[in-house]
Amino acid sequence: MQSSLRRLAIRCLAASFVLAAVAVAPALASDHADPVMLVTKETNLTDLFFFPQGDGYVLIFDVRRALTDPPPYNTAGDTFHVYFDLHSRITYTNAADQARYGGTIVQPSGVSPDVTISVQLNPDGSLLNSELTGLANQQNVRVWSGVRDDPFIFPPFFKKNVLATVISIPASSCPPGQQDFILWATVERNGQQIDHVGRSIRTQLPRYSPLPLTDEPNVNLLPPNQQVPAIMELNDSRNRITTFINKYTQTAPAIPVWQTTFQIKPFDLTIPDVMIFTTRFPVGYPNGRLLTDDVVLKTCLAGDCLLVDLSTMSGAWPRATTNDKPFLPDFPYLADPWPSSPEPPPGTKSIIPLVIGLVLLLFLIFTVIPFWIGYKWGWRRGRAATA
């Protein structure tokens, strides 16, 4: 009896975890995508790359994961921003920070943009408009947008495209002697921020998403200078749940799942979700990001293995460590797109009808049916008394 009760408790707990996971599903549903409320697929920032090339730098960002549909795309009202902080002090003495983030930002609350690149796209994915502030020699900055092969090295996104923007920035556009860069990108729809990307595979991790029915902050919607306090707040909230789970025998079996999925890790608490690049060390994730970087493996080595797990779900061996199409040696560097084909309808459907059905069923069981039984019983007694 006790063991069946225990099994029931564990199942209930597992069910609550599944519900929590469902609630943050948009964060999990894609690998390199993390808006909690995905307004449209086009507002979904997927990748951010930054690396030196020749006498300058290349910046690439992608949106619209798993694209196979032909145009038009729903890009109206969307503005993509890439920000550079060129003033914040970064140190390179903390080996753990350097392995995970590329360095240590001494004062996260002081991170703010010195350079802003804003981009809008046409419905076919090509460049509609770009605006640069804070860069010198802007006439030499090259901006290109269009449909390209998804460069993310992750099998579920092989043979898929993205809407890519590639920007070539001459070194002369940056302040003379600039060695350290902090970068991040956001997307706004009609002026409201919807997504944020910085270090690869960071805020998309489930632990950064606010849990349902809590007032946890959404790190993904905050500027970097507000993210560390928000992550600390998130941590306080998660700690309360950890304490609860740790307290009871029946909840304790959930600890490993909780810890690996939702508990904040110590290294989350110090640095906002940004990309660090410095010319002091060789380029390659987490020092900037090259197109060829296997970030799935590299982030795993630094403590986050969710995408390694997901990439092995198909059972394929060995795990892919290179892109499914070779990159180009020259601008725009990303491989040509795959041929368009209509995207299959989503394999999932809304749970809301099921929930409504269950609520109605419970309503029937606990109100209408007892009322009807009572009514019938009273009616029969009344008839018997009359007879």
Binding site: P108, M232, N235
Partner: protein, 292 residues
């Protein structure tokens, strides 16, 4: 204050007995480490820039050489930082080292950690030796008066640790009590007085006379300064070197009537860093650190 582990192993196979002894020894080691030694706070830096994230480690050990103590919310009575006139909780991750994190404000930050009491029982000779070591002769005398000298020492103990992180300039906040039950309170901001440390010991807000206070310098076990507080609870050390200092004192009081222990000890500590005064260029010279 370590606890001797004894195990009755009759009827147990040799290997099982060996495993049990090993496990108990390990447990005793862990428990001993948690109980036996000094306890202090080690921030990631004693001079953090404003707006940075500071980590706080809990350390237990001897001679200012410590092992990590992982954060356990169940063991924490209070873990706060006071800066810019405001007190906030120091958050952290259960089971984590560092045990806490906070965002540094504009001036000096004083971190305070108080643990919940833990029970320990020690054989009489070891209990008395530890009382003697920490200058608690009054407790030895009280036990003798009550005919308890040969009785095991049953006590509950708690940690009352503080650390001061320097701001850009001396702060009056550094010398303000935080209300720990037993507390070492500096007079002035010790981060800016490299040659001397003046302080007071307070028990429940009142000065304690005759308390043994010890000062240790990180990285140099030869330096161990001791003194006793005066009637006003005041004491002072002439600091021979700059560096990271640990000042500590233990207070022993009778346990409450309802406690299963006879005694209650409160382990106060304060860590801070002194640096050489500014040179003509206006920059502070780095602390003198012995080679590690």
């Amino acid at each position: 204050m370590g606890v001797a582990a004894r195990a009755g192993c009759d009827g147990v196979s040799r290997s099982a007995r060996a495993a049990a002894v090993l496990a108990l020894a390990a447990l005793a080691g862990i428990a001993g480490a948690a109980r036996a030694h000094d306890f202090w706070l080690e921030p990631s830096t004693f001079r953090p820039p404003p707006g940075s994230t500071a980590a706080v480690r809990l350390r237990v050990g001897e001679q200012f050489l410590g092992d990590p103590v992982l954060r356990s919310d169940a063991a924490i009575e209070r873990f706060v930082v006071r800066q810019d006139g405001r007190e906030t909780k120091v958050g952290g991750i259960e089971g984590g080292d560092p045990a806490g994190w906070f965002i540094v404000g504009g001036g000096a930050a004083v971190i305070a950690y108080a643990s919940k009491p833990t029970f320990v029982e020690l054989p009489a000779p070891r209990f008395e030796a530890y009382l003697r070591r920490y200058g608690l002769e009054a407790t030895i005398a009280a036990r003798a008066r009550n005919g308890e000298r040969n009785e095991p020492g049953r006590e509950i103990f708690s940690r009352q640790a503080k650390a001061i992180l320097a701001g850009a300039r001396p702060s009056p906040g550094a010398s303000r009590p935080l209300g720990l039950r037993y507390e070492i309170v500096p007079v002035g901001d010790p981060s800016f007085t490299p040659t001397a440390f003046h302080g007071r010991v307070l028990y429940e807000g009142e000065p304690v006379a005759g308390a043994l206070v010890t000062a240790l310098l990180r990285g140099d076990p030869r330096i161990r300064l001791t003194t006793r507080s005066d009637a006003a609870g005041a004491f002072a050390f002439a600091l021979p070197r700059t560096g990271v200092w640990l000042v500590e004192s233990v207070r022993m009081v009778k346990a409450s009537f309802f406690s299963r222990a006879d005694w209650e000890s409160l382990w106060a500590s304060l860590t801070f860093e002194t640096v050489a005064p500014p040179s003509a260029s206006g920059k502070h010279a780095p602390a003198q650190r012995p080679p590690e």
